[in-house]
Amino acid sequence: MKTIDKLITTALLKSPWILHFNSGACNGCDIEVVDALTPKYDVERFGIVLKATPRHADILVVSGPVTRQQAKRLKTIYDQMPDPKFVMAIGACGCSGGVFDGCYGVVPGGLDHVIPVSVYIPGCPVRPEAIIDGVVKMIQSVEATMK
């Protein structure tokens, strides 16, 4: 790894900015994501900030099965994010399509059939603790590869 890349990744892990994308979820997981960001769990104190644009984001947080209509848009958003970038699949639907897998409206197989996924967080809906745990484990695993 080049020094500049190492510097960028270190800065990213110090304060990962996230973009939340609902790809057709029932809104249950979205509420839990908001729960993790707001004062009770308050991940913002660790520098995890919700951004409004993919160009500022390091982690794409995707909740829900990917609907057919959104697959192309999700891919565009993923392509707009600067490298290095990570994707979190939130909830049973994000991991595998959940109960919606096999419906005519969704892409069969879940999120990883559309974009590469770094972390899978199961649950229906996921608990905020699980989301935070997922972020921490992801950061640890990336740090381990840097050494």
Binding site: T67, R68, Q69, G102, Y104, G105
Partner: protein, 163 residues
């Protein structure tokens, strides 16, 4: 049935006004009137009902009865719900658009076209709704003979082809 005065009144008025167009008009229970209309006269019937106080179109429900496709138009006035059934043969399913009477019905009519394959005559062209824009044309997922297994197999075949 004297206890359902309002229900009977709208039922008989409807049947008398549209003689030969409205069939099977009946009061099934309190505040519920059911009737069946010929498809060609649908906008006319709805326009008259709107002038009689049925200002609110709750929703439109599509159905597949096998030989016939069609839709229920659920109309409300301040007290009653009137369910107007329109059916059309499966071989050539056509229903006239009711946008002139209820402009709000545009999403319902698009849904009838997209998911049941009923041609709605007079519906302005536009993008697909509610199915995805790349959904295979000519497949109607809410029809009873549509099998999701066939669709998934076709999708899987397409995926291996592109690889």
């Amino acid at each position: 049935m004297t206890e359902f005065i309002n229900e009977e009144k709208i039922k008989t008025a409807l049947a008398a006004k549209f003689h030969g167009v409205i069939t099977n008009a009946e009061v099934r229970r309190r505040n519920r009137v059911w009737a069946e209309a010929a498809p060609a006269a649908l906008p006319e019937v709805l326009a008259w009902l709107k002038s009689e106080g049925f200002h609110y179109l709750s929703t439109v429900t599509g159905f597949d009865e096998g030989e016939n496709l069609g839709a229920y138009y659920h109309l409300n006035n301040s007290a009653l719900i009137l369910n107007l059934k329109v059916k059309t043969p499966r071989a050539n399913p056509v229903i006239p658009s009711i946008l002139a009477v209820f402009p709000v019905a545009v999403s319902y009519e698009k849904e009838l076209e997209d998911t049941l394959g009923i041609k709605v005559e007079g519906l302005p062209p536009g993008r697909r709704y509610p199915l995805a824009e790349d959904f295979p044309v000519g497949q109607y997922p809410l029809r009873k003979d549509w099998k999701v297994e066939d669709y998934l197999a076709a999708e899987a075949a397409k995926k291996t082809e592109t690889k």
